[in-house]
């Protein structure tokens, strides 16, 4: 039977770690995203033709992409750091010797990482409202979709944290893979603006579907069908859960 007290203890512990450094954890992504909105949305965006973005202002167009950028990087790095630190300090002994299994660990570590990135994303969304006048066409679906993406990438980050055997590896995936793919996935532009072959190439970027999924919930239109974006995210989530279950069963990178 699942050890709920154990699961919530891990969740609370991880959240407490986040709130201990809340100032830096929140301020840094909020500042970065605000700069993107000010520079791209307000300064450059004024020169853009709204017809290229489904009639929305450029500032409103980039908000979902920026939220996705934050969600992906924060969920991944929070979760990878969360499980890597106990491995690094040796405190993982307690988790391994406690009556907690894969379900409790995912609930605690991944839940906390996803929650943290959702809190930061919500703050960014509110901050964006100061600079940009955006609407959310499907608010319930937007919340559901954002939660699903945060959970998926927190699971992905958890796997990275287990795999990493040094701080350098912890940074490789978020900085060298996720960040470029997010920028190239249509955060700042619509793929309709790209010439071939880049328009086709962009469709092989998985992040493209995530950004467009969220953009659809904001504007009601996107470059891809919403079902594809939701299906893709759900498949990624299931894959990550399966990988973590395998890791716990075999003890890979956890038990000697």
């Amino acid at each position: 039977m699942m050890n709920w007290r154990g699961a919530t203890a891990i969740l609370k512990n991880e959240l407490a770690r986040f709130f201990r450094t809340a100032f830096g954890s929140i301020l840094s992504p909020v500042l970065t995203t605000s700069l993107y909105i000010v520079v791209f949305g307000a300064a450059i965006g004024g020169q853009m033709d709204p017809s290229q973005f489904g009639g929305a202002s450029y500032g409103a167009f980039i908000v979902p992409g920026l939220i996705m950028l934050t969600l992906l990087s924060e969920s991944t790095s929070n979760a990878s750091f969360g499980i890597y630190m106990p491995k690094f300090t040796g405190a993982i002994y307690e988790l391994l010797s406690a009556p907690v299994g894969v379900a409790e660990t995912i609930f605690g570590f991944v839940g906390a990482a996803a929650l943290k990135s959702l809190i930061i994303s919500a703050i960014i969304l509110i901050t964006a409202r100061v600079f940009v006048d955006y609407e959310i066409a499907h608010p319930v679906l937007a919340v559901g979709y954002v939660v699903m993406v945060a959970a998926s990438f927190a699971l992905f980050g958890f796997i990275i944290g287990l795999w990493a055997d040094g701080f350098e590896k912890l940074q490789i995936v978020p900085l060298l893979i996720l960040m470029p793919l997010t920028f190239l996935g249509g955060t700042f532009y619509s793929v309709q603006m790209l010439a071939e072959p880049w328009r086709t190439v962009a469709q092989f970027n998985p992040i493209f579907y995530l950004i467009n999924g969220l953009r659809w919930t904001f504007t009601g239109s996107s470059d891809v069908p919403i079902g594809v974006a939701f299906g893709f995210t759900l498949a990624f989530l299931v894959l990550c859960v399966a990988v973590i279950a395998w890791i716990f069963r075999t003890g890979w990178r956890l038990r000697e």
């Binding site: 007290r5 154990g6 203890a9 770690r17 002994y93 307690e94 010797s97 038990r255």
Partner: protein, 316 residues
């Protein structure tokens, strides 16, 4: 002492590189006892504890704790087991009380501030409850590790080298705390390479080397079997032979008859008594001596003998 609380059969662990850390360990631990596992560095002590507590995947063998196979009923077993590892491993930036609460919660126990206070007070940490762990001294950090392990009231507690690298005063303090735990009914398994620690604390002693248990017995029984008293009487005048009146004592003459040596006893005090008798009767029998040195063999002598004997057997 109660019945078995832990039963290990044929436990083996071979690491990926081929190192055999455990080579078929059989061991039974009884409820309520303090068991000291002695062994040199690399003997397999930490691997054995790791295998029982879930940190190491054994290659072969079985572990039953509280009558249940830990591979199957791991949740039930782990709820009742506490572990204090050798290394200080926790979130150094967190507060003492929060870390102890965290441990209690992780092991599935409901919040209980009174119990947390009790644990912290018993380890003289209550005044430091709101301090960040990194601000504490090395000894206090080690106590935080123990507090975390005790937070869920384990019935079986593993202490891996609890006094490694701590000063004498703190070591004695730690022994008092271990004694208090035993009085509270906690079964304790401690690994150490300080023989003095095993001699002071343990009810039973096991000696492990190269992944094999070389000996397990009551500490007193080991001392009785292998304990010896040695006394050197430096004589005023040399003796040609041992007087007949002392023939029933295990005596030898050394250094050209200038030294009368007693080697006997069984670790129960018999040796000391016989040396005292000798000291009195030698003077009465006209055998004058100018000096007397006595020495009791310790667990360390026994341990060194066993390890050396094991090495010789393996070489053969």
């Amino acid at each position: 002492m109660g019945g078995p609380i832990l039963d290990i059969r044929g436990l083996e662990k071979t690491y990926k590189g081929g190192t055999k850390a455990l080579a078929g360990v059989d061991l039974t631990i009884n409820k309520g006892e303090i068991f000291a596992l002695l062994g040199p560095n690399g003997a397999g002590k930490t691997t054995l504890i790791g295998a029982i507590c879930g940190l190491v995947n054994p290659t072969a063998g079985s572990i039953h704790a509280f009558g249940q196979n830990t591979a199957k009923s791991w949740r039930e077993a782990r709820r009742k087991i506490g572990l204090v590892p050798q290394e200080l491993s926790f979130d150094m930036f967190d507060k003492v009380i929060r870390q102890v609460r965290y441990s209690r919660g992780m092991f599935g126990c409901p919040p209980d501030e009174a119990r947390i206070e009790e644990v912290l007070r018993s380890l003289s940490l209550w005044d430091k409850r709101d301090a960040a762990i990194r601000e504490l001294s090395g000894g206090m950090k080690r106590r935080v590790m123990i507090a975390k392990a005790l937070a869920h009231d384990p019935e079986l507690l593993f202490l891996d080298e609890p006094t490694a690298g701590v000063d004498v005063e703190l070591r004695r303090d730690m022994w008092r705390q271990i004694d208090a735990l035993r009085a509270a009914g906690v079964t304790i398994i401690l690994t150490t390479h300080y023989i003095e620690e095993a001699e002071e604390m343990a009810d039973r002693v096991g000696v492990i080397n190269k992944g094999r248990i070389l000996l397990v017995d009551d500490k007193d029984a080991i001392m009785a079997k292998l304990g010896r008293t040695e006394a050197h009487f430096t004589l005023a005048t040399p003796l040609a032979e041992i007087p007949a009146a002392f023939a029933h004592y295990p005596l030898t003459l050394e250094e050209g008859g200038m030294r009368l040596v007693y080697r006997g006893g069984d670790g129960t005090g018999k040796g000391k008594r016989e040396v005292a008798e000798l000291a009195q009767t030698l003077a009465g029998a006209g055998v004058a001596y100018t000096g007397l040195e006595t020495r009791e063999s310790t667990l360390e002598d026994i341990f060194v003998d066993l390890v050396e004997q094991g090495a010789q057997e393996q070489a053969a």
